[in-house]
Symmetry: C2
Subunit: 250 residues, 2 copies
């Protein structure tokens, strides 16, 4: 079973104060890039949101005309909060993505934000997602970038000239990384970029789009403390498709 | 026109002493991984080797039964040396890949080793390669990994605990990098991993395989000075295909 730190009181208390939880998509700096990788039309589509949290993207899909959204999260606390928002068309289900089953050939679009790097059995989940997508359907997801997750000490340091550099090491050492992010002992899975892509290709997905995200000039202007963040990617955003989308499915 | 440092006396004198030039494929540590990405059968195939250098891979393809190989290099010195080896079936041509033209629908397999990171107009070359491949044909290439090419100071440093770390910065700052590798002022083009892949997808290639290379345990045992090289990738190896290969083309 996957770790469920969201139902840890201390973690949750901190977590709900993050801008992306308080402000939703407006407080999610990578959202414009993620959104640009969505299928262009969501009207009438069946969507699954894996690791839905407070359901911001599920609600966005409904606003864009999606017929229904299955929104899955491991955390009861997250889902309770999500259910306090109007949620016509959204079915919230508590589930562990390490073992969750999806219906065959049921979804036009499957989405997952910052969740897959917690999954141990990634091959199983990717195969489940492939199974659940309709032909031409898209899977869009974001993860912490492997350059971000790799280092033993994931904090910028100064080089001998006083410049901020990201101390990359352990890039090829795939596996668990324990961090103290909001709470002690949060466990993430590190894979290389090529390993992520190879797992997708092995599940017989076609790679459609890929973006490495860092804050834009405008975002750094509004949040000067993010300046260093432009030196290396913090998130990896990927869109893969099952077979080739028709024009209508683009 | 592309920079041709290979015809610089000082550079060439150093260059021909590199293990990969003296020993050929046996002195090329990433060769086993590259080779594993080649189409399984080369018998009777038409091959192009872009940036062929001394022609080691061109000759390998002929040994594997390729019908003919077009071997292109910008450097007259490199080609003169290549021509001193037996080269039945290989046509050596001096050419600048910034403007070189390939015949339409002519090649089963196109290969390029550590050359594309010198090309400014990558979109033109990729489109030329796509044009020249037969349907189902493969393009396999290696480049310096973007993590390797990005930093202002591309040398390992020690962190406060005395560990070797790779001082990554400037990852998103795409464009020219001037290094003093063997000679002063060698100019390479840095792109992000996602930018490389996006250029390939934009040329309507299908991504087939991707590997990030670092020395193996065995290689580090034989070359202890390479230990740090395992902390981050040095080469990026990619196989893309034009349309989907038939079983015979795998």
């Amino acid at each position: 079973m996957a770790q469920n730190m969201y139902d840890n009181e201390a973690f949750f208390k901190e977590y709900i104060q993050l801008p992306r939880q308080v402000k939703g998509l407006d407080g999610t700096p990578e959202w414009p890039d993620l959104q640009s990788m969505f299928p262009r039309r969501l009207e009438g589509k069946n969507v699954a949101d894996l690791g839905c949290g407070f359901g911001w993207v599920s609600r966005y899909c409904i606003e864009q005309g999606a017929a229904k959204v299955l929104a899955v999260d491991i955390s009861g606390k997250m889902l309770s909060k999500a259910r306090t928002f109007p949620s016509n068309g959204i079915t919230y289900v508590q589930g562990d993505l390490e073992s969750f089953n999806l219906d065959f050939d049921a979804y036009d679009f499957i989405f997952s934000s910052l969740t897959l790097h917690y999954i141990s059995n990634l091959a199983r989940l990717l195969s489940e997602i492939k199974f659940a997508l309709k032909p031409g359907g898209s899977f869009v997801f974001s993860i912490e970038h492997p350059i971000f997750s790799a280092p033993r000490n994931a904090k910028f340091i100064k080089d001998s000239e006083g410049h901020s550099v990201w101390p990359l090491d352990g890039y090829f050492d795939e596996g668990k990384r324990t961090t103290n992010w909001l709470a002690e002992g949060v466990v993430k899975e590190h894979h290389t970029v090529s390993s992520w892509i190879t797992k997708l290709l092995s599940a017989r997905f076609t790679l459609w789009q890929i973006k490495e995200w860092c804050p834009s000039e405008q975002q750094v202007k509004e949040n000067p403390m993010w300046a260093d963040e432009q030196q290396r990617p913090s998130f990896l955003l990927i869109r893969v498709v099952k077979d080739v989308p028709t024009l209508e499915q683009f």
